[in-house]
Amino acid sequence: MKMAFRALALLLLAAAQPLSAHVGSPDVYYEGDAGPYHLFVTVRMPQVIPGVAEIQVRAESGDVQAIRIVPLRLTGPGSNLAPTPDLLEVSKDDPQFFTGTLWLMESGALQVRIMAEGAKGKGELSVPVASFAQRTLPMQKSLAGLLLLLMLLLTVGAISIAGAGAREASLEPGMTPGPANVRRSRIAMTVTVILVLGLLYVGKSWWGVEDTSYQRRVNFYKPPRAETTLENGNRLVIRAKGEDSRWTDRINMGRVLPDHNHLMHLFLIALPGMDRMWHLHPERLQEGAFAVDLPSMPAGPYQVFADIVDERGFPWTLVGTIELPQVEGKPLAGDDSSWSGAPLVTTQQGSNTSQLPDSARIVWERGSSPLKSNVAMDFKFRVEGKDGKPVEDMEPYMGMAGHAEFVRSDFTVFAHVHPSGSIPMASLELAQAGLMSDPSAMPAGMAMAGTAPSGPLPGVVAFPYGFPQPGDYRIFVQVKRAGQVETGVFDAQVE
């Protein structure tokens, strides 16, 4: 019975594969410094490419006077020449809130460069964005009706014009058409009917080809499948397979970039209630596959999410499911971590407190207002000891103050977020490299290699993010204290 339930859960989850890449969370949230100005940036990505992105920027201080934005490629040609910047509009109600739109003309790894100007001078920052077409929009019935009507008018018009031309155009003025003219007119109309029908057929076929070609682009950017095999009882091998056949040719798994010191971040989450989670870091094999020696794990179905960043700075999340037997593995080491606890609460708002093993706890400062989708928020978590005071033993976990994973109950949303936002560090480092003119620009909470803070971090960590759609979510918050990775778990109902 238990096995049947698991099989059903796997089947349902396979059917509920996310409809868009980066697992249902295409918008970009970012927090960082443009020179002397601390900015919170939201990029609402368009559904089609080329398309218009909406940009929202909130300045922490009130001394920012103007913000300009330009799109560039993240790397290579096109990353060093900028179009005329667009000026963001200042909100009438809130002088620290700026909004605007930006055309994104290409798919792939792009960046939005943000130039702030104010009382303290100028500053720049760059926000990497993963630009990809998410779907094809259907045609509204009213528009379809109008276009059908116009097509009929033009079709019948063309046939009638051909008939009128053949019947009367050659007649001397004043003459009336005879039977021969009428016969010629009928022939001309018949030929035109055939031509118009042929034209419409060619047009329809062409439209179909364009649609298929566009759909292939949409599929190309869908999350690749994580094809997993278990070897020797505990060695998990992961291979990526794109939705589109061109994916494997174009995305070189042998050249993915290290993202805070690891080429892949693998998350194994127990199905269906997310009552266990592992955050592991597989190594690359020679043929572009990845492998990791699993720790001891109970048998059961697991959801697989594996984050990588390709050589151009484009982030991909491999998605899959696996049915594991009981695994007898090695103990966790290095940056690997795990958590187990109660399953996701789907019927009510979860607790804002998550107990840690050593009697410390993580408190989510969520406020009292209901959580809403598509609203940029700062998810602030306080790590406090049993005395209720912020802990003093926090240290960087893979170069960051913390990591958070937002997972929707049906696994159609998965976002791996840092204090700087939803962008992988590897992409940010590429963007930073392009900002040579302003080395002071630095994302929030980021400790670059060699510049990690030597002392303890404050006991508070915040993540800029917005839920992409309503539903039940589980948030895994991971921090490192005194050499141990600890995970707090929070459940949220989003309207």
Partner: protein
């Protein structure tokens, strides 16, 4: 009954003396259609240059306004002409009109009105296309083809209107109308050849597909105009005018400052990016006229075969070596403007690297396509001749 109605102005003109016939001026509706054609010609070239150098920043760019103004102007002018011819019993054009759906008007007016409706219908279609498949940064897409069909309709309608008027006229008035014929034919050809400009870039000029496309697009209009006009140099005049207009765009557009508003930008652009240097169609047009003057007594298909073959061979003889010049540093100047790269063309593009792109993958495929180019040249010349013969007969 029809004989009792007042004769149209142009018919009356035939009955008065030559001096008064020569004094007749081009009717207002032909002028309106010519302005509409000009509006779409400038609008389209400006719009393409705008997309290449600035990128789309809103629907209401001046270039877009000019394009759609063309459809509106032709639609309103020809709509009014049709309504006035239908409902005014004393309309001078009533006898020289065709009837359709209970309306009366010159055949060209119906074609222009159709073109106007097609152009306007393409706007919501194009807008939906952009919303669904993203803003297309290419010329050949279904809604753009509908727009092109509409513009071609207006140009063809103007041609038909002018020719019907010309066929009823004589003397200086006829000569004036023949100029309208050349004017309209130039821009019909600009449409049939221009729609394929993405496939006729210089990088394709050493492939047979390029010649096949041009043979489908150019000889039909050139032979049509040659068969309609009494002028023995009609093909040469038409292509010379077309080349002159094209060169004007090549040389004038770069004088206008412009910079990209969209990104990524692969190439810094400081002025409007002009179209490519015109194809050397003037040479096959001269050859066409010379051959035509010598084979007038031949059968129709024999003439088409000789003219089509002469057209293709002379075009090959000049365009193939000219492509080498366009690829060389010698052409990178204000005359040839071969550094007219749009801002969105990456440096890895064969266009920027000045390398030919093979369109056929074997010599057998090349020669099959060349044979198809020859077949197209002959067939399209013959169709153009038939089209021209029909045009010579139209009176309404």
């Amino acid at each position: 009954m029809a004989n009792s109605l007042p004769l149209p102005q142009t018919i009356s003109a035939q009955k008065v003396d030559r001096a008064s016939a020569e004094a007749l001026s081009i009717p207002w509706y032909v002028w309106c259609c010519m302005v509409s054609v000009l509006s779409s010609v400038i609008g389209i070239e400006w719009d393409i240059a705008w997309h290449k150098s600035i990128g789309r920043d809103s629907f209401w760019t001046p270039a877009h306004v000019l394009i759609y103004l063309s459809g509106i102007l032709a639609g309103i002018a020809c709509g009014y002409l049709i309504l006035s011819t239908t409902f005014q019993k004393r309309s001078p054009l009533r006898d020289a009109s065709v009837s359709m759906w209970g309306f009366r008007g010159p055949l060209g007016a119906f074609i222009c009105a159709w073109g106007g409706v097609a152009m306007i219908a393409s706007a919501p279609f194009d807008n939906w296309w952009h919303n669904s498949y993203g803003l297309d940064v290419k010329i050949l897409s279904p809604p753009h083809v509908l727009l092109a069909l509409g513009m071609t309709g207006i140009r063809f309608g103007t041609l038909v209107m002018a020719v019907a008027e010309m066929n009823r006229a004589q003397g200086l008035y006829r000569a004036k109308l023949e100029r309208v014929l050349f004017f309209a034919a130039v821009f019909v050809m600009a449409m049939t050849v221009g729609i394929f400009q993405e496939d006729t870039n210089r990088v394709f000029m050493h492939g047979a597909t390029f010649y096949m496309i041009i043979m489908f697009a150019a000889p039909i209009v050139i032979s049509m105009v040659a068969w309609v006009s009494d002028n023995r140099w009609a093909a040469t005049i038409t292509v010379a005018m077309s080349t002159a207009v094209h060169l004007a765009f090549v040389w004038i557009l770069p004088l206008v400052p412009a910079e990209p508003k969209l990104g990524p930008v692969y190439r810094q652009v400081t002025h409007l990016v002009p179209p490519d240097f015109p194809l050397l169609l003037i040479v096959p047009a001269v050859v066409f006229d010379l051959v035509r003057q010598r084979i007038g007594t031949w059968g129709q298909w024999k003439q088409a075969a000789a003219l089509g073959a002469a057209f293709l061979l002379s075009f090959l003889a000049v365009q193939w070596p000219f492509a080498d010049l366009l690829m060389s540093p010698a052409s990178r100047n204000r005359i040839f403007e071969t550094t007219n790269y749009p801002y969105a063309i990456p440096p890895t593009s064969p266009w920027v690297r000045n390398v030919f792109v093979p369109t056929e993958h074997s010599s057998a495929e090349f020669w099959v396509r060349m044979a198809m180019a020859l077949g197209a040249a002959i067939l399209m010349t013959r169709i153009g001749m038939a089209w021209g013969e029909w045009m010579r007969r139209i009176r309404r």
